[in-house]
């Protein structure tokens, strides 16, 4: 078995043992799941995406996508994806990776003055649980990847529908621990990585939501039979299945493009946008169906469903909301003109 599959299986077993309703409830009350996190650290997952030469496991982005899908499948209340991707960014820029929880954010709105960073990063996921933050900041001709120590930043806790920690991070003349030059285009790439991370989590959580709904439909009896025997319910669940399939394929295709672009085979922005938009759409449609099938029990606190659907609703909005990505992609396509769309859609093997 290859390393990615091995890590994935280990993670799955860990989540099966640890991530239950109690764990999710505690995390949403603000209690950091320390045991879960340290088990994940012990697997070496923090540096899974760091090249082997730099001491990591050297997994590719597509393999990371499969791991992130598992975090979504369990709604695991830890910033594993955030940490893995932040560490990967640091390693690729040649910056030493600090211990602990790492997060990253789109830093293009930050101001850099004489090496000091100023500005506000809205709703950063898991900022107050993290020791360090990775952003790309600076003018186009001098964009740098920056590692910031979050002890020197203000984190204002926010509330969200997902109830996982989100904070506004305010930087006032913060001096990075380390910086390294990167291309201005790579700064957009950081936003894309966040979008893809959420896309994979959506795909994983949505499959779980489908399984919960199918189980419920096969169990809940009304009119003398399981409601899943009724064609109306079957047809709805089939639509949910189609959304799950679309989310799984779109997110995987996004990571595949990322792997290709790292190998010098073009830019991955198009596929990232596609993944983001399609997975978010799937989350919206899929959650509605799952709740409808569950009836009133699905909106109770006691049922597991909401731990997934609330996160699905949140994840649609992070690292650029669904509508933002749709507008960006649509504008690009419109500006290029009708003749350019088909070559764009088929560009994995450009003619």
């Amino acid at each position: 078995m290859d390393l990615a599959a091995l890590l994935g299986d280990q993670l799955e077993r860990l989540f099966l043992d640890h991530v239950d309703r109690n764990c999710l409830h505690a995390a949403e009350s603000g209690i950091w799941p320390a045991a879960l996190w340290s088990a994940v650290e012990d697997f070496g997952l923090r540096t899974a995406l760091v090249p082997e030469a730099a001491g990591g496991s050297g997994l590719g982005w597509s393999e990371a996508g499969a791991i992130l899908q598992r975090t979504g499948r369990f709604a695991a209340p830890i910033p594993l994806g955030e940490t893995m991707i932040a560490a990967a960014l640091l390693a690729r820029a040649g910056i030493a990776i600090p211990e602990g929880v790492l997060v990253f954010a789109d830093g293009r709105a930050l101001k850099v003055d004489d090496g000091l960073i100023e500005g506000r990063l809205p709703a950063v996921a898991w900022a107050h649980a993290a020791s360090h933050l990775v952003v790309a900041a600076g003018p186009d001709d001098d964009t740098r990847l920056c590692l910031l120590d979050l002890r020197h930043a203000e984190a204002h806790p926010l509330r969200s529908i997902g109830r996982d920690a989100r904070d506004d991070v305010v930087l006032r003349g913060a001096k990075p621990v380390a910086t390294a030059p990167i291309e201005a285009a790579a700064a957009v790439g950081i936003l894309e990585l966040g979008a893809l991370m959420r896309a994979s989590q959506i795909a994983g959580a949505l499959r779980r939501v489908m399984e919960l709904a199918v189980d419920y439909a096969n169990t809940r009896q009304q009119f003398g039979r399981p409601i899943g025997r009724f064609q109306a319910i079957q047809q709805s669940l089939a639509q949910l299945a189609a959304e799950v399939a679309a989310a799984e394929v779109a997110s995987a295709a996004g990571w595949r493009a990322r792997d290709k672009s790292e190998a010098g085979l073009g830019k991955a922005g198009f596929e990232a946008a596609v993944a983001r938009i399609r997975c978010s759409e799937a989350a919206r449609l899929g959650c509605a169906i799952a709740h409808q099938v569950h009836g009133a029990i699905g909106v109770t606190d006691e049922h597991m469903l909401h731990y997934f659907t609330r996160r699905l609703w949140l994840w649609r909005l992070e690292f650029g909301a669904e509508t933002w990505w749709a507008e960006e992609l649509g504008a690009t396509v419109l500006e290029a003109g009708g003749d350019k769309l088909w070559p764009l859609l088929t560009r994995d093997d450009p003619a």
């Binding site: 394929v249 749709a326 396509v333 003109g337």
Partner: protein
């Protein structure tokens, strides 16, 4: 719960696909000079034998078949490149489409050597058009209830009954029809069905085109009155018709023709919206449309990869068809919304006419190849709900 469906991403073979795509595009560029938007919107319902023969001369029909049967021994994924380029350009492919997609592969899989030698080379040259005889006046989605029957007689079979909704029967050379060769039992309605290769010039066949809401005729009713079919024209084994038809449908339900039917409207729509000055909402709608298209393409190529590997991905094909026809059916409305089409038009080849055409044929998108409800029932079965 067992995984009901699984899509593994599949890459088109990069170098082969690139060279092939470029050839197909050049060919289509050359021949498409006179095609209007409305012509392109007809694509795989447009029957043009000259065009099909040209495609055949390029080696783009029967691409995956063995060379000794006139095929070209290329992969299913290379074939995919040709199919999607044809559809995206709105090429008039109806005269070879069904034979290339379904009839030929069926003959190749279960036909006799004699059938293969007789039919496959002519199909590959773009010279033989096929239609599919499944539905009957009283058997639509409930296909197992079909009653048209084949009775054994000296030297062959006698066909009686009627097929309906047979696309392009009035222009085709042969039909592969499903007939009852033994009575069904209460418990096993799928038994006793067999497939036959039927020369549509045989005596006793009456083909009646059915005018549809577009003012054109695509469908037909085909009546069989004591039509003789020699023994040698049975396809596959007697009584295996149901299983053969189902395997065939995985090809029909997952190809690029299941999400690109309305695509020829999209490029002219983008141009009509304009390169500058569009509303944010228009950009969002376009972005969502493109995300759906790109995702369906990845799903469809994934299934092409499974077919290439010899699998029969019925569950995955049903999911693609469900999502694909939704997209196709949404497209004309999107064009109306974003372009602001007028209610009436004088250019019969323009975007308004093309959109009107697609609006009228769109209801069939979720009928052909299995209705939406049948597809979703199939998915529900895969999910463990029935």
């Amino acid at each position: 719960m067992a995984a009901a469906f699984h899509f593994e991403l599949c890459d088109l073979p990069r170098d082969e696909a690139r060279a092939l795509r470029s050839k197909v595009r050049n060919f289509l560029n050359d021949v498409s000079a006179g095609w209007t938007i409305a012509d392109r919107a007809r694509s795989w319902t447009a029957f043009d034998r000259d065009f099909s023969r040209q495609v055949g001369r390029h080696g783009w029909i029967g691409m995956t078949w063995p060379a000794n049967y006139g095929g070209h021994e290329r992969s299913a994924l290379e074939r995919y490149v040709v199919l999607e380029e044809m559809l995206a350009a709105g090429a008039p492919v109806a005269a070879h489409w069904i034979a290339d997609r379904q009839s030929g592969p069926l003959i190749l899989r279960v036909g006799t050597d004699e059938q293969k030698r007789e039919f496959l080379p002519r199909i590959a040259r773009g010279e033989l058009a096929f239609c599919i005889g499944l539905s009957e006046p009283d058997s639509g989605s409930d296909l197992a209830s079909l009653r048209s029957k084949a009775t054994r007689i000296s030297g062959g079979w006698r066909l009686d009954g009627a097929k309906i909704w047979t696309t392009n029967a009035h222009q085709s050379d042969f039909m592969i029809g499903l007939f009852r060769t033994a009575p069904a039992s209460e418990t096993a309605r799928h038994i006793g069905l067999s497939q036959f290769l039927i020369d549509l010039k045989s005596s006793g066949i009456e083909i009646r085109p059915i005018a549809d809401l577009t003012g054109e005729s695509h469908f037909n009713e085909v009546r069989f009155d004591a039509v003789f079919v020699p023994d040698s024209m049975m396809v596959g084994r007697e009584g295996d018709g149901w299983a053969q038809v189902n395997a065939e449908l995985a090809f029909e339900r997952s190809g690029p023709d299941r999400y690109l039917s309305a695509y020829p409207l999209v490029p002219p729509m983008l141009d009509a919206i304009g390169k500058t000055g569009f509303e944010a909402q228009a950009a969002r709608d376009v972005g969502r449309l493109v995300a759906r298209l790109a995702t369906l393409r990845a799903m469809s190529i994934s299934v092409a990869g499974m077919l290439q590997a010899g699998a029969t991905p019925l569950q995955e094909a049903a999911l693609i068809k469900d999502l694909g026809v939704d997209l196709e059916q949404d497209t004309p409305r999107l064009v109306e919304d974003l372009v602001g089409l007028p209610p009436a038009f004088d250019d019969p080849g323009g975007l308004a006419a093309a959109t009107a055409y697609v609006t009228q044929v769109a209801p069939t998108f979720s009928l052909r190849g299995g209705t939406r409800e049948i597809m979703r029932g199939l998915t529900a079965r895969g999910l463990g709900l029935r």
